[in-house]
Structure formats: structure tokens, C-alpha cells
């Protein structure tokens, strides 16, 4: 049997198990509830923005948004590219990206650690390569988070559609792209979470270690963001630099701006780097898991 066949069989089971478990159901329900509130809030923000900006036309509103995005990112091209996109979708993708590590940590902390603790893993290691088992767990988690975020995006899109802020065409074009942005970023978080889960035998420790690792990563991202804002205050242009500090690259969420860029090079750079995250943690996790006693 090929490793791919093993991964497929175990990953499907993992997905089914996660969706059916009490934890999976509760988390999914809470996430969807939260998403519904977030999508209402996004729509409300968009409506309030339109009223507050007192924009005479859609074009004026877009121009206002362009200026705001440019000020936030320091990237005029990106601002011009993103400005026509409905605000509610933009806001929602930001919210989803921001919360995806939490989702990944809660769904994935016990993916392997739970089975190590109760030695369930022993039923699998005599029937599948350890590498396949590890990669299947990663694939299962990633697929689960992908499904949940897809549901979130559909929900948010439906709310925005109902309010008339997006058209069906925009929803399909931008909604799909934004979901892919979340999906790509979630992959990096999933790889880190699965790696940690395979190193720790106790699920609660795995959860704490995952939160710890994610927090360190967030600190890197926040540090870079603050540094760039300071630069913008001190600088002559009043705009933050487009260039991220090296440590910001350690925070997967920092790639959202690159992934939403109009320039294919920047998008592929982000996709490549996020893929690098997945590969590094998947390879490290696989190697360690192959060598560990279960």
C-alpha cells in the first residue's frame, strides 16, 4: 500500500472523528455562532462607514477606502487593488485569519497527543508508516479547519449578500480567494500544532505548548507591526514601510497582505513561504515521530 493511500484512509477517518466528536461539534457550533456575530459586525461596520464617510458615490467610498488601506499598509498598489472589495468581506477575512490559530490550536492539540496518551496510536503504527500517520493527522486537521473556515466564509458572504453589499459574482470571486488566503495560512498553523501534538503525550500540555508557540509567533508579528507604525510616525512619508522585519515572517498571519496582493510574485512568495512552514514542521514532526517510542 502506498503512503498516499495510508494518508487518505487515516485522514478521512480523522476528519470524520473530529466532526463527530463532542469537542468537534461544540467547537464548530461556537465558531459558526461567533462567525455569524462577526459577519453582522462586519456588515454593520461597512454600513456605518458608508454613512460616516458621507460618500456621494460608490467611487468616492472606494477612494476613501483606498486611502485608509494605504495608510495602514504603506502599499499604494495593494490599496488600489483592495479598495473595490466590499469592506465586510475584507473585515471578515481579517477576523478569520486572526482567529484561525485559535481554531487550529483547539481542534488540533490532541490530534496525536490524545492517541499517545491512551496508546490508541498502537493500533495504527502496526498498520501504517509512522510518517503516513503523522501526515494524515496534519492533513485531517488542515481539511477540518478548511471546512470550518469555508462554512464561516459562506455565512459571512450570505449576510453581506443579504445586505446588498456584495454581488453573487463578487462573492464567488473574492469569497473564494479570501477563503484560500485563510486556508493557506491555516496550513502553517496546522503544521506547527500537529508537530507539537506529536511531541507531547499529555493533551493539556500539548494545548499549552501550542498556545505558547502561537503566542511567541504572534509577538514576532506584533513586534514588526509596531516597528513599522513607529517608522511611519518618524518618517517623512507618514506611511509605514512595505518591508517586514525578518521576525515578522515567523508569524504566518503576517502573510495575509501578501496573499491578497495584486502582484503574482508577492502572492507566490507568500504561498511558497507558507508551504515552507508546512514542509519544515511536517518533516521535523515526521522524523521525530518515527524515532519516538509510542
Amino acid at each position: 500500500m502506498s503512503p498516499l493511500a495510508e494518508i487518505r484512509i487515516i485522514a478521512f477517518r480523522e476528519l470524520r472523528r473530529s466532526v463527530r466528536s463532542a469537542k468537534g461539534i461544540a467547537l464548530s457550533a461556537l465558531t459558526l455562532l461567533g462567525a455569524f456575530v462577526a459577519s453582522l459586525a462586519s456588515v454593520w461596520v461597512e454600513g456605518a462607514d458608508r454613512v460616516r464617510s458621507n460618500a456621494a458615490s460608490t467611487q468616492a467610498y472606494i477612494e476613501l477606502k483606498r486611502a485608509i488601506i494605504e495608510k495602514a499598509t504603506g502599499d499604494a498598489t495593494l490599496a488600489a487593488f483592495l479598495a473595490p472589495i466590499p469592506t465586510s468581506l475584507l473585515l471578515f477575512v481579517k477576523i478569520t485569519v486572526w482567529f484561525s490559530p485559535l481554531l487550529v490550536a483547539l481542534f488540533g492539540f490532541d490530534a496525536i497527543s490524545g492517541e499517545l496518551q491512551h496508546r490508541e496510536v498502537r493500533f495504527w503504527t502496526v498498520r501504517s508508516r509512522r510518517a503516513s500517520y503523522f501526515l494524515a493527522k496534519l492533513a485531517g486537521l488542515w481539511a477540518l479547519v478548511g471546512l470550518v473556515t469555508l462554512a464561516l466564509n459562506l455565512l459571512a458572504g450570505t449576510v453581506a449578500l443579504a445586505r446588498g453589499y456584495v454581488t453573487v459574482g463578487e462573492l464567488f470571486a473574492w469569497g473564494l480567494r479570501f477563503w484560500l488566503v485563510t486556508f493557506a495560512i491555516a496550513g502553517a498553523w496546522c503544521a506547527i500544532a500537529t508537530f507539537i501534538s506529536s511531541c507531547v503525550k499529555t493533551p493539556i500540555l500539548a494545548l499549552l505548548a501550542t498556545f505558547g508557540a502561537f503566542f511567541v509567533s504572534w509577538i514576532c508579528g506584533a513586534g514588526g507591526f509596531i516597528a513599522r507604525q513607529r517608522e511611519s510616525i518618524a518618517g517623512a512619508t507618514g506611511l509605514p514601510s512595505q518591508q517586514m522585519g525578518w521576525y515578522e515572517y515567523l508569524y504566518p498571519n503576517a502573510y495575509d497582505t501578501l496573499l491578497m496582493s495584486s502582484e503574482p510574485v508577492r502572492v507566490w512568495l507568500a504561498v511558497g513561504t507558507l508551504a515552507g512552514f508546512v514542509v519544515v514542521f511536517a518533516v521535523a514532526g515526521t522524523l521525530l515521530f518515527q524515532r519516538r517510542d509510542v
Binding site: 498502537r122 508508516r129 517510542d293
Partner: protein, 316 residues
């Protein structure tokens, strides 16, 4: 012994956990088709040895071959090795049927036959009614049977069983023993257990471990001296002598195949050693009992050899 005739081969196998040596330089061969026991007190290293055979633990030193491959060569051993881990919990949320089907698929059983294989495996442990039950809702005995079903799923060539009857009530334990005995001859079975009576009943051979070292191994008859020795328990108050009701040691020594006779008056046990080339144990039992009964000695029990329990007590 040819490579094909050896199901499991351990050569100077050592496992250390930090500074602690759990198994030290154990060398052992288990013939194909045998039912083989791993015996020893707590901390003897039998579960560690078992876990290395199953590929759960990596040896620190030495080599280990299972059906001619390293235990971690999953693809080469797929569906050829079944394992009953002692303390692995079944996945609580899975239904019994889907769990077994999933494992069958991983054993490369075609999708169209996986369900049949799982149904058959469950039926063999009398668990057909549990197909739709969640594993988490099974009693300890039921869970043990499901675990046993997964170990024998797909009729593997080698089955490793760690404490298959631990914690079970006598009836379920007996049923599981009968199930394992029914599988003898169709697969090589390695059983790690504390239950010496069980092992003596099931196994053709055994290895006795103590503090991580191998202290004895071989066929059960060799270990228990069942082919060299007969033990007769006599009634309370029986003494040595030639009077009626007494044990005449000299008379027993005079029997043609007998090598030596000892009578322990405190333990009330006669130990008769004999030349296995001259007679088998059954013949010797007949001759010895005949001599004793002629002298009206009251007999309370007869065993071939000293029993596995006694042997283990002597060695560990």
C-alpha cells in the same frame, strides 16, 4: 533453524530508558507456528520486549527480526502481524464495526471485502451484536474481545498478545483462552502474561525473563522437565518405609527407567526422574502409581514435571 522457520529473532536485544536498563542482551528465536510465552515477574522486561517486537519501542542495541523484517517495516509486514497491546484504549467515539473496517482497509484488504473481514473477526470473538456500538460504551471484557478481534483481523501469520486475559472475569478469560487455543497452528502466537497456568495451557514454548535478562527459554516440556520428571503428591501422614501405606523409595528406584527418586516428607511429594529415551512420562506415571498403589499409598495428585510456576519460582 532456517530463516523461514523463525518467526521472531532477537539478537542481543537491549532497551534502556535513560539510566535504567529494561532489557539487556536478550537473544531468542521463536519458531514459526509455535504458541510462545513471555514470562517473568513485574519489571522483568517482558512488556518492553513485547513492545519492541511490535515496533512500539526502538531497541537501544541489538537486532530484532519479525518474519524476516525489522518490526518498523510496516509495508513488508502489512496484514502479516497482528498485535493486542495491553493498555491501549479503543477509540471511544468510533463504532466497533467502522473501527475494524478502517483497520482492515489499512491492512490492504480491498474495500469490497473489508466489511466481511471485520464482520468475521468480530463474530469469532462472539461480538457480532456490538457492530454498531461505540467503543467507548463497551465493558472491559467486550473491549478486550474487540481488541483481540483486531489482532486476528485478516488472519495474520504472527500475532502478539500482551496480557490477553488481564482484568477479566474467569468466564471471559476462559473463553479468550479457548479462542487463542483455537488459533494455534494457524499463526505463530506470542503471549506475554503473568498467568503461568494460562501460558502452560496455551504455549508450546516460553522464555523466562528476570530483571531484563533471559534466564531460560525453550519448549514448555523442557522448561517444566515434563519429559524428565514425574511428581506424585501423597496423602497427609504418609511416611517413608516398607510398611503398608508408606512410600518405599528403594522399590521405586528399582523400576527400570527410573534415574532417581526423592521423597520430601514435609511437602508430601515424590519426585521421580527418569531417562526420557527409555520411557515417556505416561509410562513412568503408570509404573510409579502401580508400585505405590500396591503398597496402599494414598495418592492426592500427579504432575508431569515441576510445573511452570515452580520453574519460574526457581529461576526468578
Amino acid at each position: 533453524m532456517s530463516a523461514a522457520a523463525v518467526a521472531v529473532r532477537l539478537v542481543a536485544l537491549t532497551k534502556r530508558f535513560g539510566a535504567k536498563t529494561a532489557v539487556e542482551a536478550v537473544s531468542l528465536q521463536i519458531e514459526s507456528g509455535m504458541a510462545y510465552g513471555l514470562i517473568g515477574p513485574n519489571g522483568a522486561g517482558k512488556t518492553t520486549t513485547f513492545s519492541m517486537m511490535a515496533g512500539y519501542l526502538r531497541p537501544t542495541h541489538g537486532t530484532l527480526e519479525v518474519l524476516g523484517f525489522a518490526p518498523t517495516a510496516v509495508d513488508s509486514l502489512r496484514s502479516r502481524v497482528g498485535v493486542l497491546p495491553q493498555d491501549a484504549l479503543l477509540p471511544a467515539n468510533d463504532r466497533v464495526g467502522e473501527f475494524l473496517v478502517h483497520l482492515a482497509l489499512l491492512q490492504n484488504v480491498p474495500k469490497s471485502k473489508a466489511t466481511d473481514a471485520a464482520v468475521r473477526a468480530l463474530a469469532e470473538v462472539q461480538g457480532s451484536d456490538w457492530w454498531k456500538q461505540r467503543c467507548g460504551s463497551l465493558s472491559h471484557g467486550m473491549a478486550k474481545r474487540v481488541a483481540l478481534a483486531q489482532a486476528f483481523l485478516g488472519d495474520p501469520d504472527l500475532v502478539l498478545l500482551d496480557e490477553p486475559t488481564a482484568g477479566l472475569d474467569p468466564r471471559v478469560a476462559w473463553e479468550i483462552r479457548q479462542f487463542i487455543k483455537g488459533k494455534k497452528g494457524r499463526a505463530t502466537i506470542v503471549v506475554s502474561s503473568h498467568n503461568l497456568q494460562e501460558l502452560e495451557e496455551i504455549c508450546d514454548g516460553a522464555a523466562i525473563l528476570d530483571r531484563g535478562r533471559l534466564v531460560a527459554s525453550g519448549r514448555m516440556a523442557e522448561l517444566t522437565a515434563a519429559n524428565d520428571e514425574v511428581r506424585v503428591k501423597v496423602g497427609r501422614g504418609t511416611r517413608r518405609g516398607s510398611a503398608s501405606g508408606a512410600v518405599s523409595v528403594d522399590e521405586l528406584r528399582g523400576l527400570p527407567m527410573v534415574r532417581s527418586v526423592d521423597f520430601d516428607e514435609e511437602e508430601l511429594e515424590i519426585v521421580v526422574s527418569f531417562e526420557r529415551k527409555q520411557a515417556d512420562a505416561e509410562t513412568v506415571i503408570g509404573e510409579v502409581l502401580s508400585a505405590l498403589l500396591k503398597n496402599q499409598v494414598r495418592i492426592s495428585g500427579v504432575t508431569k514435571g515441576r510445573g511452570l510456576e515452580q520453574r519460574v519460582m526457581d529461576l526468578t
